[in-house]
Amino acid sequence: MTTATKPYDEMQSADGAIRQHYLAHRDWLIAKPDDFLIQKQKEANALYTKQGITFAVYGEDSGTERSIPFDIIPRIIRPQAWKTISEGCCQRVRALNAFIKDIYHEHNIIRAGVIPGDQIFQHPAYRPEMSGVKVPGDIYVHIAGVDIVKTDTNQFYVLEDNLRTPSGVSYMLENRKMMMRLFPDLFGRFPVAPIDHYTDVLLDNLRAVAPSNNGQPTVVLMSPGAYNSAYFEHAFLAQQMGIELVEGQDLFVSNKFVYMRTTHGPQKVDVIYRRIDDDFLDPEAFRRDSVIGVPGLFAAYCAGNVTLANAIGTGIADDKSTYLYVPEMIRFYLGEEPILNNVPTYRLSIASDLAYALAHLPELVVKEVQGSGGYGMLVGPTSTAAQIADFRERILANPSKYIAQPTLSLSTCPTFLNNQLVPRHVDLRPYVLSGRETTLVPGGLTRVALTEGSLVVNSSQGGGTKDTWILEGTSC
């Protein structure tokens, strides 16, 4: 599967006909004046700047903030497609959660020979400290962001399971608010499933995993601070849930209980929705140079006096080298067949896979096993010969650092750029919540690669976002 063939477009079929579920949008748009979209796009940009909905870009001047580009054309998803996506995501997260519990306790999957033990225990993301640590409800992954691409009608591939501190959900929610503000009449024409209750569901799940059921657990959101790239989201979520937005300096541990410093003295904290990496959580347990963590937090966690969401040590399960075992995990733990496809993956630590990859670099996507955010990857079909040659050197220097996958033909969606509608590649990140049960609100963050032909949708690499409409009902 390469980009040589025309990619699947979600609005238009190959013969140019508008797909059924986009017709109402087309008809609505035709009735509008010529410069309507131009005006609305300007309005949207001005509103996002005014509201300060920004993210920081690393590598530029410190404190640089940008608005994430927002595209005013919604991505419309039909009910059946959503059924596949949502059931597939929940299935995946349930299996991944069972996997994490297993590798920190019984090791059944290793004993059964499904995954080699070395793959787990030698892995830098494996946290031996978590071995035998019991977490409330056996929930490790309270929030997961599953990155999905569509390649054809009802053909979905999971690119990545983000199980550490997935971000972007604030854009999902803000994009919907923006669309309702810009185009209220459009919502009368489509049965768009609401997503506003995301934060209610999240808070309910977080309360459900409090250490002891003492009525009113104190839940807080822990952020690295105002200079983190996702700070807007941390503040947004804390505000929506009505919980305190804390930083490491606000918390302290006494007798293995966690407290926050308040104007009325110390207050006990039961659940921490942390948006800070494992490494930085506790300088006594992990990185000693962390100044944004809380000394003694890990001890309080092991004592069962505080819940962390997500749990420590989930990184072992969303790693790119573990990814290829997820279909087997689903069969092993759930006895089910995977609903969503995995992308075939070559591990370059294996000689035959490496040989294949080096011979086919122009067709492949090569990623760092440890990488994220679209940094340090090669997209063969859109790279120059020089870039490919350069990347080949990097692979040869340390093959086990990389995996390779065939370049998927990501679907395209109409996107309003330079005053016209053009097809651009998109992906989708729905957010799966666990605690009471594993659910997700009908929606997700659609990221769009704004550069023509580009397959890299990350906001740090110039990607934008769209509102994602899941249509209710069974029609279409």
Binding site: A226, A235, D250, R261
Partner: protein, 336 residues
């Protein structure tokens, strides 16, 4: 609420209030500089109109670190409006307020943050335009209006909780500080000479002082008389009904602290209560005969003690939060 959040809100509020007060002070200085002025005593040359904003804010030495020549309109305006290196410039104050606010989005209302953010986004270009196009009056008006607007949005949208109380507390602490300084410098240094008291320049200076705290028409309504220093002092110190008087500020500060001090932390409430009582029962004749400057100096010292107490008990208990107190540096008034 979190101590750090209380700290951010308290300082955000102080910084906006100070930006407004700075705009008021520069506005008046600008107007006064248009009046004929003559240095009678060479030792008082630092009381030139354009030196006053520096003296009042304790920034003279910072200014001279950057400028070798005596303060003039252009250098002082740039220093006090857009100099990024001066933490008390309007630019730096709004930037700091917005940074404090940015980390407090979870506590403020959306309207408040948007208002503050818009102020920050428009500030730089407005300042540049005003300085390069003779648009200072418009700029000062705009800053005052935006400060009023932020106060109004806060009043109109924010939950009346502790967060609101710390915002109020910050604003009134800053305002009391500002009024006391303004009065002190004017009273003690601006009288060109005793012979000219009651003269035209003297009149304009006192009326300018009143206008800088929006109190000129209030003065006229209350006293229905010419402007004389003792009444100006009474108005700005003792009248409880003038919103920028020391008495009015301490009314609010004391009220808030008596609500906030629910446990053993009574010291802040006690200090505020004592300061409040002195204003509540004070008499202007006594204050003048004991020495106005000494009175104001003592008030400011108590105000700083009160701030320290608030800081230790509420804002930063046993911690080192981002050092906002930088803004208090060198702000103790110069000795007489």
């Amino acid at each position: 609420m979190l101590s750090r959040h209380a700290n951010n809100l308290y300082w955000m509020s102080r910084q906006i209030e100070r930006a407004e007060n700075t705009a008021r002070l520069l506005d008046i200085t600008h107007q006064m500089s248009l009046l004929p002025y003559r240095v009678i005593d060479a030792a008082q040359s630092w009381a030139e109109p354009w030196a006053l904003p520096l003296v009042i804010n304790g920034l003279a030495s910072d200014f001279y670190k950057k400028h070798s020549s005596a303060p003039n309109a252009d250098s002082v305006l740039r220093f006090m409006i857009i100099d990024h290196t001066n933490p008390s410039s309007i630019y730096s104050l709004v930037q700091a307020a917005r940074e404090n606010g940015r980390s407090m989005r979870g506590v403020m209302t959306t309207e408040m943050y948007e208002d503050l953010n818009t102020l920050w986004l428009e500030l730089s270009s407005r300042c540049q335009y005003a300085l390069n196009n003779d648009g200072l009056n418009d700029l000062f008006e705009w800053i005052k209006t935006r400060s009023h607007q932020f106060r109004g949005v806060t009043f109109g949208t924010m939950l009346r909780d502790e967060a609101h109380q710390f915002i109020q507390l910050g604003a009134y602490m800053e305002r009391a500080d500002n009024t006391a300084r303004l009065l002190d410098v004017k009273y003690h240094t601006l009288l060109p000479s005793t012979a000219e008291i009651g003269g035209a320049v003297d009149y304009y200076q006192w009326s300018a002082l009143l206008r800088s705290v929006s109190a000129l028409s209030s003065y006229r309504r209350i006293y229905r008389d010419v402007i004389i220093p003792i009444r100006v002092s009474e108005l700005l110190i003792l009248r409880p009904d003038l919103p920028r008087s020391l008495h009015a500020c301490m009314n609010t500060i004391y009220e808030i602290l008596s609500q906030l001090c629910t446990d053993e932390k009574k010291e802040a409430e006690r200090i505020a209560g004592e300061m409040h009582a002195q204003l509540h029962y004070g008499q202007i004749d006594q204050i003048i005969s004991d020495g106005l400057h000494e009175y104001l100096l003592s008030f400011l010292k108590k105000l700083y003690t009160l701030h320290d107490e608030i800081n230790q008990h509420f804002l930063a208990p046993n911690t080192n939060y981002a050092d906002n107190s930088l803004f208090l540096h060198q702000r103790l008034p110069r000795a007489a």
